[in-house]
Symmetry: C2
Subunit: 147 residues, 2 copies
DNA sequence: ACCAATCATATTGTGCACAATCTATTTGTG
DNA sequence: CACAAATAGATTGTGCACAATATGATTGGT
């Protein structure tokens, strides 16, 4: 037999990971569409809401594992929608500081129920969610360490 | 305090899932670039290699959780690269049957080591990989069931 | 046999991801 | 201080994802 067994679909871990990520983010996206946000725009706002003050593009990228090639257009769209403000850091003109506008801050309450609604119906139990989170964090550390 | 605690970045499960999926598929993509495949093209070939005969676009989509909007251009690129052949099903002209060419079949041996190389260095232990796979399969079932 | 509903795939348009590259600024070293 | 190296972000080009829609084939009910 010539088929490499490690290439069987059933042997893959990457494919379920890829499919599950798309499946749950699609669910988030459906709910977020009501406030006009995409999933990447939403997680960008999460990072900004979480922070005490403005974040640089690089700091947002570190939290979301995204680079400026992805973030710059996302931030431009958030800016033109009135959700964030961007300006060069006077102390270091290479940097761009990003922070939510008042309107962007108000958006937070309107999406407060999105995670619960997105996960409802998946049947994932709380203890399984905790275990899944632990394994994913471990994987992310491993990926970063050997990048 | 007005911040909804369920929106804290640290409380999210979706974001690590999204980031981990991009992280590992990016690693696959780097290795696959040597044979000229992208990750979606690779998993499409996995589905075809796994099958006994030709698969319809819909059957590939069911295995990969992708629709024709994504698969049609992927299949066109695989076809023009000489990896697959496509033709309408004579028994039902709505369907398109896809199968690897001889050259597409040969590609299988050249990517046999990609999964092992991609996961090497992530530090994920085998038993953790098994548990992760179980949780992701469970999540995929839940997502499909409540689609 | 008709024909409305359904089904399979393709097409269109928007928005990511990401590698590669570019530009402008800052930093480190002599 | 000069200036090469490093850094931050923006730009460019390719290829997904996916919703919405279009096209054409098939099926089921009368």
């Amino acid at each position: 037999m010539t088929a490499p067994p490690q290439l069987a679909l059933s042997a893959q871990l990457c494919l379920p990971l890829y499919a599950a990520a798309r499946g749950i983010t699609r669910r988030y996206a459906e709910l977020l569409a009501e406030v006009g946000l995409t999933y990447p725009q939403y997680v960008t706002m999460l990072a900004l809401w979480d922070a005490d003050g403005p974040l640089t593009v690089g700091e947002i990228g570190a939290r979301l594992h995204l680079d400026s090639g992805t973030l710059t257009p996302v931030l431009k769209r958030l800016e033109s929608a009135g959700h964030v403000a961007r300006h060069r850091d006077a102390a270091d003109e290479r940097r761009v500081l990003v922070e939510p506008t008042a309107e962007g801050t108000r958006l937070r309450d309107r999406v407060a129920d999105v995670p619960e609604q997105a996960w409802r119906g998946t049947g994932l139990r709380v203890e399984d969610a905790v275990e899944l989170r632990r394994l994913l964090d471990q994987l992310l550390v491993g990926l970063d360490a050997s990048a």
